[in-house]
Structures are given as C-alpha cells and as structure tokens.
Point group: C2
Chain length 307, copies 2
Amino acid sequence: MSLICVGSMAYDAIETPFGKRDRIVGGAAVYAAYAASNFIKPINLVSIIGNDFEESEIRALEEKGASFEGVERVKDKKSFFWSGKYHLDMNTRDTLVTDLNVLADFKPVIPASFQDSEFLMLGNLHPATQISVIGQMKIRPRLIAMDTMNYWISSAMQDLTTLLGMVDVLMVNDAEARELTGEYSLVKAARKIMQMGPRYLVIKKGEHGALLFHGSQVFFAPALPLEEVFDPTGAGDTFAGGFMGHLARTKDISFENMKTAIIVGSAMASFCVEKFGPERLKEIDKNEIDDRIRQFIDLVNFDIALV
Amino acid sequence: MSLICVGSMAYDAIETPFGKRDRIVGGAAVYAAYAASNFIKPINLVSIIGNDFEESEIRALEEKGASFEGVERVKDKKSFFWSGKYHLDMNTRDTLVTDLNVLADFKPVIPASFQDSEFLMLGNLHPATQISVIGQMKIRPRLIAMDTMNYWISSAMQDLTTLLGMVDVLMVNDAEARELTGEYSLVKAARKIMQMGPRYLVIKKGEHGALLFHGSQVFFAPALPLEEVFDPTGAGDTFAGGFMGHLARTKDISFENMKTAIIVGSAMASFCVEKFGPERLKEIDKNEIDDRIRQFIDLVNFDIALV
C-alpha cells in the first residue's frame, strides 16, 4: 500500500517580507513527499534531478521513507530552478526566474516495483506527461489525484481535457477553477469541472481555506489563522501530500474520509508556511501534527440546537 | 429580554452585475432588525427617518417585532440615502452617492421603555454618537456589541478609543482590523484590538467567512458557498443581527455560545445576499433557517481519529 508522487524536484530562490533564501530545496514532489511521509511509507517518487541536487537532500528524503528508484539523475544538467518574490499580502508573487533545466526533458518512467501503488498523485506538469504516467500503470490505481496550473489551461487544454477524464480528484486554486470553466461562482465552476471527469474537486483558496466538492456535497476546511505566514512556497503541494498521505494510510476513499484528508492537508500546509521552503516540514513530529489537528477541530467545532 | 439596535435606516440605490434597484429600503438597523427578529422580540430600534420613509416599510418591520418608539421621524427632511455599484467579484464596490439627510442631525434618544434591554447593538455611526447611547443606559446592558468603519478609524480615533474601552464585542471586517492596528496579520491585529477593550472580536471576511477571537481562543465560520452572490449590501449588518438575536434568545454570552451565534449570523447573511437589499430576509421562515444552519453543520463537520 504505497503512494506514487510524480512532480518536480527543484531548487528555489525565495524572497518574502521576512527574509530570503538564495537556494533552498523545493519542487512539488519534495513538498508532497515530506508531508505524506508522516502517514505512509514508502513514498514512491517519480521525478528528475540534475547534477547539483545534493546527496544530503536525497538522504533526508530517503530517511523519511522516500524511494528514489523512479527519480532520473542527469549528469550534465542542473535541476529545475525557480525564483520568486512575495508581497506583503502573500497572496501574490512575482516569478523572477524559471530555469526548466532537466525538467525540459522529463519523460517519467514508472519502475516495476511501483506498479502495486494504489494511490497516485500527479503534480503539476504538462498534461501529456501526466497522461503518460497513468498509461504506464498496469493496474489502475484506486485513486488518481492531479494538480495543474493556469499555464496548461491556456496552452494545453486538449490534453488537459483528456487527462481530466482519467482522474478521480482535481486539486486547483480558485483562480484556476475559474479559468478552467469561465465561471466566477466556485459552485458553478465545481459543477462544470466534475462534468469534465473528476468525481472529487478540491479548490484551494490559500489563507482562506479549501473546498471539497463531490456531487452535490460540499465541505470546507479553513486555513489555520497564523501570526505570520513566513513563506507560502509549497503550501499547495504540502496540502496535496497530506491529503494523499491520509487517504493512503486509511485506505478509505469515501467522501467522509476525504473531509478528514482535507483537514490533514490543511494542517500540513499550516506547518509549511511557518519557515522557508520545506524547513519546517523536515522537523515536525507526530505529536506536533496531532496538536495541530486538534487546533483545527477547535477552530470549527460548535454545538447548536436548532431554534 | 430584548435587543436594542442602533443604526441607520435608509434608502439605497444598488447596482450589481445581476441588475439594479433605484430605491430599496436599507440601513444597518433595518438589516439587523430583520435578521434578529427571527430569534427575539421586540427589536428596539433607535434610529432616524425622513418624510420619505414609507409607512409600509414601518409596518413590515413592526410585524416582525420591531418597536419604533426610539425612531425619530423628521417631517421636513429625507431619509439617509446611499448609492453603490458592485463589480464582478462582489468584494469591491464604488460608492456613488452618500446623502446623509436626517442622519446628519442624529442624536439618538433611548426611550424609558428600552432601559431594560440586556443586549445592545451599536451599528456604524460616529463613535461619539455610539458613546452617547451607552451613556444613556441606566443599567449597563449585559452585552454591548459595536460596528465601525474605516472612516471613523481615520477621522475619530480618539472617540473610537474611548468607545472600544466600553464595549464587549467589536465587529469589523479584515481591512478595518488591519487599519485599526497597523498589523497585517489578523492574529496580531486581534490581540491588539482586544487590548483596546473588547473581550470578543469578530472579523468579517465576506465570502471568506468570519473569525471570532476571545483571549487566546479562535473560532472560524465559513461563508456558505453560493451559486451566486446576488447583492452583498447589508450582509455584515444581517450577520450582526443574527449574531445578537441568537445571543439575546439564548441569554448565554459564553464563548461556546458565541461560536453558535457566529454560525447563525453567517446563515442569516447567506440569505441576505440571495436577493436585492433585505428582500430575501423579509420572506424567510424558521424552516428555511433550520435547513440553512444544517448546511453549515454539513459544511464543516468532520470525524477524525488522530494518527
């Protein structure tokens, strides 16, 4: 019972109102793996790295239960590099540099030993690349979740439409849900997206929480009110990792359990933003996670006798 | 056991992406009264109206349990008039016209028969006016809640500071909480505001829900995801009316019960935005309110066994 995480492994340069890091490990698969590793092992990584990816970072992930069998190592190129700067409200960021490097040639290959994985998380990549991963699975995973971004919505809508018909869960942010459907109302957008394929839809709203849609049902998880959001980089991927990690651990893909998975994902994301990059995710333990989840229960729990 | 609502009674002209109304009843006290009337009677209104305020609107409010004994009627002037236009995202609006009319001379007088009211809601007015109301209460109400706005924060901060030391609950939106404290983080802003006086703080975030702070405790209520927000005018005042109405009905001002009051307020606000002005509030009944509150329970309720 394991989880495949397909996605980028990278180095980032990040500037926020609280400081900067010139070079820190990042990428969707890294964040998702750190988050999911608290719930399930192994995390079967499918990614590509360059000659600059440090052995210490590989060992740190392996110690958390990540398998690198599906990670291609390219000797003569550098890892994917992204640089961005956040403004005071942390909801907007400017991308300063995007050097695809090894990611430009990424042709994911699923190792034979990953074939029994029942849970598949497709991080943001070209939809055709995401499709090729699903095509390599000899037995369809019980649950396939995917992320995407506005760039693919505007440039690869045909592949994206095909892909949406193949997955169970789509995770996007509110702007992407609107762009994908042309609907401003998230309720209307959700209905259209579920008609495109995914039975479950997660709409991430950053500091404003996340919505889970399934048929006519809807669930809302708040973001934890924090003193400071130090660095939001990777929060969405961390959310996805916590979500999939909880589902893989419990082996229960009902709507009821997905609600809980959304809370777990939100809890993991609330750790992610407390330090730069995945620094905070590297250090948390089970007790801290339990405490954090209790804070979410307190945050939304109320008693009511109907009038 | 009754509730005093102090605030404007007005006519509004409203334009949204879904249509327009050239003249529709409005004002903080009107919205709060319609919302609170589902939970408590009488609603002791303290306001001022002009010669254009229609008898049919007065009768409609009286039928819901509003007392007009504290409403001054001015024969030779018109009622407060506000005109605004909303944009597609409904979070921003342009104020086109603000004719204070009778509101310019508003000197609220609390009738003797209102003196036994245990709950006092001070709608947005000059802080000195709000102070004068508290000063007229021979016995301090059990709970005093107040609203304010950015205009008073920038122009009447001295009176506002005095007032904040006299109330139990402050209700503001996120921008106002930030402006009042100079803190971007709502958690930090909340701490500073509670040091200014109010033991309870409600931060309204529109479509993103509302936060309740008390000491080191925090509670979050989402807004109901709606197909369309038709007209957000009055949603904040409706929220306040539902909140105070629930507290006055249950006579319980504990933090636990305030959580429930926040949900009730959110439910009432979710009705308000479904039609123009208070049109939807005028027609809802107990069964619809119960159904709506059940939707809020479903929206946030989850089960979790800690890992």
